[in-house]
Symmetry: C2
Subunit: 293 residues, 2 copies
């Protein structure tokens, strides 16, 4: 039961009305018997300073930060984790006696989401579609997973080149490069790739009938396709790969584990999910999304 | 279920850890099927401005304000109700698109708590113990209830005199006066009084074995004793009056109705409790308090 000693956590963003975080985090809170509640606040960019001061004044213990504030929020915090400094973005704020520390849990969420597929990454060649914020977090995680080669493709070549440079210089991924159109036949590239990741919005509404990969001829059982999109649950990107025998995974587990990591940071507790709990939560979240399975 | 569209309400005070408002308001929220949740924030006096700006930045729709901020909060709001201006205190803030309006629901809570005892007040003589914030709200309510005479007693005579003057000038209670020691034998005063109200902390821990009234000889069935204290449920003040046949009431209903009025202000909805609901809520709150019945 909520009482005067119940802690408040919340996500801030603009817009924020469709965030799944409140449903997910309140489910965690219930499962782990925490004395807390989690809501959402729509906060304008011009009011971030007021929001952080309000967090201090009200003693709000933790906030998640989502688009479009993940980069800008850094100016208003007192401390940044190593990952926040390297990635230039934060999604988790912790308030300790008025001192606000910023963390980013997305790379952690990607890694924990992999489960038994994690072993595929060491020494692997990875093709990554997208060069935005999500792709940055994934690239950072890939360096921690010990991949050998990273090839980044983006509609805007310059963005892919910049991320490849960041991955080399900041994330320690020496063999990171940008895939420039006409660089090599796509078939040849996929043939020599173990893992293909979609970190773009292609496959989501209104692009449900699109895939970043346009030729699946050489896709086979040795491949692992990972889509950060989780609505629909199976994008065209994943469906066609699965039809060719590839292992596949969507982005729902990453969403769950980046959220769980935030809650670990706020509570200082080692919270973990049983497989049955993970499945129950995924079912709840798919229901919230109205996802067709 | 709490989602990204769920509204947050909260009480601010210092300390606030023992506030019953979260338990009570979340019970209302559930009963009335509102999409909201209610928590508590401990806010230092020096941070009220930051808190109100945070309320604006985060779009928090409503706050309750409790001691010690009920007077000071007025400096930070955009609009004050007539009652707030007259009483010099506020307990409810409503945020409409960043414009913060202040209300005070305590007088309303007192009046609604009376139920069928309300008819006793028109033309009555009332003896009021206490001259602090609660006594102010009660005095204001008494003027609205059409009492004829108000006699105010306080350990600090000067406070009683000041409240009597306020009641005359600001609340429109022409026959308000302060009871100065030795003014008349207490027996005589109570004999000519219909209603005796305790708005002091006498009767609460650690003063459970005390009563502001020291002689009950002339107390009888025509009297109505009202104690703003609700923990213990029956103070010595009420018990001795009941033993003499007087009607009695404690402060739990006032606490409930001042809170319900805040929720009406925030939601704009005409919320009301069935007698069975009121009883269920009182039981819940007594359990929270660990009150002996």
């Amino acid at each position: 039961m909520i009482s005067a000693s119940t802690n408040l956590y919340a996500v801030i963003g603009d817009p924020v009305a469709h965030s799944l975080s409140p449903v997910m985090q309140n489910w965690f809170i219930e499962q782990f018997h925490l004395n807390a509640v989690y809501t959402a606040f729509r906060v304008k960019g011009a009011k971030l300073q007021m929001c952080i001061n309000g967090m201090r004044a009200m003693g709000i213990k933790g906030l998640n930060v989502t688009v479009p504030h993940k980069e800008a929020i850094r100016s208003f915090v007192d401390e940044q984790s190593e990952e926040v400094r390297v990635l230039g973005a934060a999604n988790t704020l912790k308030n300790q006696a008025g001192v606000i520390s910023a963390y980013v849990t997305d790379p952690y969420g990607f890694i924990e989401s992999l489960g038994e597929n994690r072993a595929r990454f060491r020494g692997a060649s990875v093709l990554l579609y997208g060069a935005g914020g999500a792709a940055k977090s994934v690239s950072y995680a890939l360096s921690r997973l010990g991949v050998d080669q990273l090839l980044i493709s983006d509609l805007v070549s310059q963005k892919a080149i910049e991320l490849a440079e960041r991955a080399q210089k900041l994330y320690g991924l020496k063999n990171a490069s940008a895939l420039v159109k006409g660089f090599a036949p796509m078939k040849e590239i996929i043939k020599h790739t173990h893992i293909v990741i979609n970190a773009t919005a292609v496959g989501m509404f209104p692009l449900e009938d699109k895939s970043v990969v346009d030729n699946y001829d050489v896709v086979g059982t040795k491949h692992f396709f990972y889509d950060l999109v989780y609505n629909p649950a199976q994008t065209k990107f994943l469906r066609l790969a699965e039809e060719r025998g590839a292992a596949t995974q969507n982005g729902l587990d990453m969403l769950i584990y980046q959220g769980l990591e935030s809650l670990r940071i706020w509570t200082g507790q080692d919270l973990s999910l049983l497989p049955s709990q993970l499945n129950e939560l995924k079912k709840l979240m798919r229901n919230q999304l109205g996802v067709h399975e």
